[in-house]
Amino acid sequence: MKTNGKGGKANGRRAEAGLDAIAFEIVKNKMLAAINEAGAVLVRTSASEVVVTVREFTQSYYTSDGHLTLTGGGILLHVKSIADIVRYLIDNYEHTIGINDGDMFIFSDPYLGGMHAPDQAIVAPIFWQGKRVGFCASLTHIPDTGAIDAGGFCPRATEVYQEGIRLRGLRVMRGGVRCDDVFNTLKAAVRLPDIVELDVLSKIASNNVLIRRAQELIEKYGLETYLATNRELIRYSERLARERTRKIADGQWRSVTYLEHDGQQPNLFRIQLTATKRGDRLILDYTGSSPQAATSINATYHAAMGCAFAILAGRLFYDIPWNEGILRPLELRLPDNCIINAQYPAAVSQGMPAGGGVVVFAVQDVLSKMLLASGDDLRRESSGVFGWSVHAPVMSGSNQYGNFFIWPTMDECAGGMGARVDRDGVGTAGTIQTPKVRIGNIEEYEQRYPMLFLFRREEQDSAGAGKFRGGAGGEFCFMLHKSSTGYIDIMLSGAGCEPAIALGVAGGLPARQGRFVKVKDSDAAALLRQGRIAQSLQELTGEKEMLPPKGYARIENRDCFYLAWHGGGGFGDPLERGPELVRQDIIDQLVSRRFAECVYGVVVTGANADIDRAATARAREEIRRQRLAQAA
């Protein structure tokens, strides 16, 4: 069993002597501003789709002994694990190779921190007048690691050695000077050396911002105030997090979610979460989950922790400064050799989209129910599960200019939001764990990659039904266009294609499953020439092959590739939904008439979709009758 240590007793109220509330607020805000500024530098200079569009980056400040004091960025998953990296750096290098002013160290080992080898962190000490006063770090997801599969998610890997170069603190900057030996080694190990180099430079630039701003703060407010604020930040967050935790109903909830495929076989894995809330402590116990897999769908401890943290931070502690203080009420219990606590050297490259990814769903599920049982202000925070098909298909091949490309598609991050207790979820609006994610413009995709999209839109009937429905999910379909080789490869690492995991709450239905479909040898191009743009798979000839959620596919010549991603889960019984709301959705073609009749019991007629009141009453009565007929 691995745990994050016991939550323990709360620290007292304001303890830090000599630090007034006003200096604390000012220094805290300036640190946050520095983190945002560093993020802007990363986004503006990076060449990685994942950094620029998904905003998969994190910057943070640490105490000199490696405690996380403040973090921010576009993704919540890594927030915790970099602190473990900083402590590794201190423990292993402080008295050996040394940690000096102007040094920066590069890490990418998922067994030290991060989720998988593409997560690359650069850690830098902050010095003031010759003395180390803290650390800062910047992390991004790099587009290639030199693994057996382009892009670094490796369905066929069985050991972490096949998943790309893993760095354990190489000194990438020494005394402010860039170390070309490290750059050259790294560039030689990956498929996209120029982009990876730019990403390393971006993180160095980001750290330089963090260092400079910290030094300015010390200069202005004094070293003691800076250090005291950093220490106090952790206690401050802990106090707020405990107070909020205390307001949640005491009790125990259980949720089970599944992985339907291990990358090679449709083997089923089960992730069981028992959440116990008592007083100001929350225990997330994964005892009962499946043992680790022989393939790369395992999550490391860091990934599982990061995923749990992301949901708690995003849904419960969103207005509290993120640092290790908000983790103190939390106890995470992970059995050994478990699918979400894999032992070295298990392959873990799909650990985030797979094992870790479904943790995201399980935590949301129990949290929604916990909140629903709590006081009114917390009850309003309950919602259906947010859609996110955990897909991240990685496309690669030769583009129309004859250059090699790797494109991790992130459109599925625009899932439907879960329904809330008093309103519908927002359609194609995004996940909790990657709140800043952007999806690219089709015009940019087609300019860069050899594809032509037939559609990208919200999918009808994709939202989980309920008194309030989830937000709609989406779908797209493309064919090859101007490909220089006539094919591209797709590496799939999805989940939630067989089990419906974007669950509803309180009688609301889950959203549909996600799908990957390959249409073999389609007539899409011929139809286009005739003036017809196919708008559904039915309109295309060619065999429709349902692809497994994980594995490989090649799209060649006249094939099309279709992807549908999750809407959000619904809230409450759909029979309690106002017929006029259903009608509006019908008019906007978000809900089909058939779905409206079968699920909502709402019958409309004519071009205006006028509600047939009598037929609606009858349909709803009939559904209720059928429900109770079960008892017989």
Binding site: I22, K28, A47, V426, Q447, R457
Partner: protein
């Protein structure tokens, strides 16, 4: 040469500024008439006529131009009262404005509803047509489907139609054809084509901007036509001009088709006035800060030109056109101070607004606000707030701060008030850092131009924190936007996507595109040539390293000369250097790509001279009206501080802080050691100690 009249319609007042070659510049205000803006505009003109002791018609006959800042577009978007609008897109892409690239305004506000759909899904129709990224037609336009869409919109009473096709900025043939079809089938409908509104790659930005244009333009056009007619019926022979969001102005008839370009018509004038007055006072680099009751707006003026940005949100809908880059945060006199559950003191973003307003208003507010802190600290005289028009209750201010801040934190009243003052300053300083530091600029290279009722109270302290050397406070601030209107030039901005890698030789194509952009922009200025003394061409190129997603904009040498290959290489060199200056590194020798070309055509008018008052010197005692106790953090105590009457200040008089200068609409606080004098253009210049 006759009158030049600048009018700015605000929420409460319609301001005017009038210049005439042989008369003294003057300004004034009349109440705004939100239901029909034109009534207030007419009232303003009538008041000008009265002041000039002329009949309205006589005044108008002697007027060359009227320049208008309008809120018609802003209000249409704030209140969602635009035209009933439909959208025709490439089939399969009608949800572009719904997916909105997944932008979120508030990352963790999971309760935030979707933006108000100004064109709901039922009014978005996809039709068969497809162009690829090279401009090649993959699927021909289905004209019959376009006709059906037109008929359907007509039957539904849709008044305005946005036509948005993929890659129309490369090949606009289908959009143009659909316009013809719409004119045939439904000639009454207004039509906006995406490649005309914003001929730029990235369909979300282009579709959204076009949709807003379609939504706001019909009402704007009606309004401007009405004004034009109203003026011409009354004998106005000149031109009606409108302030655009890009800081320039445009003929009303052209502007009427481009509603989206008027979204920041009002604030635009204020920023132009900032640039102009700053320049007169010897400051070409400025940060304009407008601190009102609930919000704090900042905008950068670099080398006397307001900075523009193409990433604006208008009521949560994206505008991709270059507009003055106003950054707004929730901080103002009404911002509420509160102690959070962790024991931290916070200020804002919640505001007490005008009602109940700060506790000291005595209108029932019990939450302590920034204004309450300013009163407790002695910065604002409770008997002379807004020139004495509102009486404040200092006791209520004290009580609110004591109860809600000092007691919970276990600190004294004055510590609490000074804490609120410092925290709100810090929040505002972060907004300034956002527009400066975050964009690779050092705020120390800028002067602050402070306006808005609360701005000058705080600017001195901000100046100190940010190590800024000068703060400028214009006496003309109350009618600043109208002043900016009469100071502004014609400006036509063009953007066109153009893709070229540094390894390619497409300089001839590039010149061709610039030429077309120039011609397009020039056609809008051509009719107004009589008013112009000079036309400047400014060209820019958006560049990035290959695979980067964000660009750096590099300016070409002034003028319209075709670029040579050598000139282009110099641009690439300039890009490397600017990248390094902004982000701390460059990659010389690494390939670069061009994404967009930008062109601004600026038609300069005969400059309006602002009156200059000679420095007569004099003693501060001439303006001194008394003293009061004010708290200064530097002294850690209250000090009996001299108070000066702004209306008795004359150019040349120098004041040394600590001091308080009261103007009818604002109060300027000088910290110990800071000095201030009024310059010949009626701008106070505060200098750091």
């Amino acid at each position: 040469m006759g009158y030049i009249i600048g009018i700015d319609v605000g929420g409460t007042f319609t301001d005017f500024v009038v210049s005439h070659p042989s008369k003294k510049l003057f300004h004034g205000k009349v109440p705004s008439t939100p239901r029909d803006e034109s009534e207030g505009v007419l009232a303003a003109i009538q008041q000008i006529a009265q002041r000039e002791r002329k009949e309205l018609a006589a005044l108008l006959r002697e007027t060359d131009i009227i320049i208008l800042g309008t809120t018609v577009v802003t209000n249409a978007m704030l209140e969602f009262k635009g035209a009933k609008t439909g959208m025709i897109t490439t089939r399969g892409f009608r949800d572009v404005v719904e997916l909105r690239c997944n932008y979120k305004e508030s990352l963790f506000d999971l309760k935030l509803p979707p933006p108000y759909p100004i064109v709901p899904r039922r009014y978005r129709v996809g039709i068969a047509e497809r162009v690829d990224y090279t401009g090649r037609i993959v699927t021909p336009l289905d004209a019959e489907e376009a006709r059906q869409a037109a008929r359907r919109f007509k039957s539904l009473g849709v008044e305005s139609i946005a036509v948005c096709f993929l890659f129309s900025y490369v090949n606009p043939a289908h959009e143009l054809r659909v316009r013809d079809i719409l004119h045939e089938e439904y000639p009454e409908a207004a039509v906006s084509l995406s490649h005309e509104v914003l001929p730029q790659v990235r369909e979300f930005e282009r579709f959204s901007t076009t949709m807003i244009n379609a939504y706001v333009s019909p009402h704007l056009k009606k309004y401007l036509n009405h004004l034009t007619q109203m003026f011409s019926e009354r004998g106005f022979p000149g031109e009606l001009l409108v302030m655009q969001s890009n800081g320039g102005m445009m003929r009303a008839d052209f502007a009427a088709e481009r509603g989206v370009e008027l979204a920041l018509s009002g604030p635009s004038g204020g920023v132009i006035a900032t640039a102009h007055l700053g320049k007169l006072s010897g400051h070409r680099n400025l940060i304009a800060m407008d601190m009102g009751g609930t919000s704090y707006d900042v905008c950068v003026v670099k080398d006397a030109v307001p900075e523009l940005s193409s990433k604006y949100w208008l009521s949560r809908h994206r505008v991709g056109l270059p507009m003055i880059d106003i950054h707004t945060i929730g901080a103002g006199g009404g911002s509420i101070a509160w102690v959070d559950k962790g024991g931290g003191l916070r200020v804002g973003p919640r505001s007490a607004g005008a009602e109940p307003g700060p506790a000291c208003y005595g209108l029932g507010g019990v939450e302590p606000t920034v204004t309450d802190a300013d009163v407790v600290l002695g910065y604002i005289d409770p008997n002379y707030f807004l020139g004495g028009t509102i009486k404040l209750d200092a006791e209520l201010a004290k009580r609110a701060i004591a109860e809600k801040v000092a007691k919970p934190l276990g600190i004294t009243l004055v510590e609490a008030a000074s804490g609120i003052f410092r925290i709100v300053n810090n929040n505002m300083n972060n907004a300034i850092r956002y527009v400066s530091v975050m964009r690779g600029r050092d705020p120390r290279d800028f002067a602050l131009m402070a306006f808005g009722g609360a701005g000058p109270v705080h600017a001195g302290a901000q100046m100190k924190d940010l190590k800024i050397k000068s703060v400028l406070v214009p006496k003309t601030a109350p009618t600043f936007s109208a002043l900016g209107a009469i100071l502004s030039d014609f400006k036509s901005s063009r953007v066109q996507s153009f893709h070229m890698r540094s390894t390619e030789n497409k300089v001839a194509d590039l010149n061709q595109v610039f030429k077309r952009m120039y011609e397009g922009a020039f056609s809008l200025l051509d009719k107004s040539r009589d008013l112009l003394v000079r036309i400047d061409v400014r060209r820019y190129i958006d560049l990035r390293y290959i695979r980067q997603v964000h660009e750096v904009t590099v300016e070409l040498p002034l003028g319209n000369e075709p670029l040579t290959a050598a000139g282009l290489s110099r641009m690439f060199e300039a890009f490397h250097d600017q990248h390094e200056a902004r982000y701390g590194f460059k990659r010389p020798g690494y390939p670069v790509e061009i994404i967009n070309l930008r062109l601004d055509l600026v038609g300069a008018r005969v400059p309006t001279d602002l009156p200059r008052v000679a420095r007569n010197g004099g003693s501060p005692d001439d303006a001194r009206k008394g003293t009061r106790a004010a708290y200064f953090d530097e002294l850690k105590d209250y000090a009996e501080t001299p108070v000066y009457d702004g209306s008795r200040m004359a150019p040349g008089i120098q004041i040394r802080g600590p001091a308080i200068v009261e103007e009818p609409q604002t109060t300027i606080i000088l910290l110990p050691g800071q000095t201030m004098e009024l310059d010949p253009y009626q701008t106070y210049i505060v200098s750091a100690s």
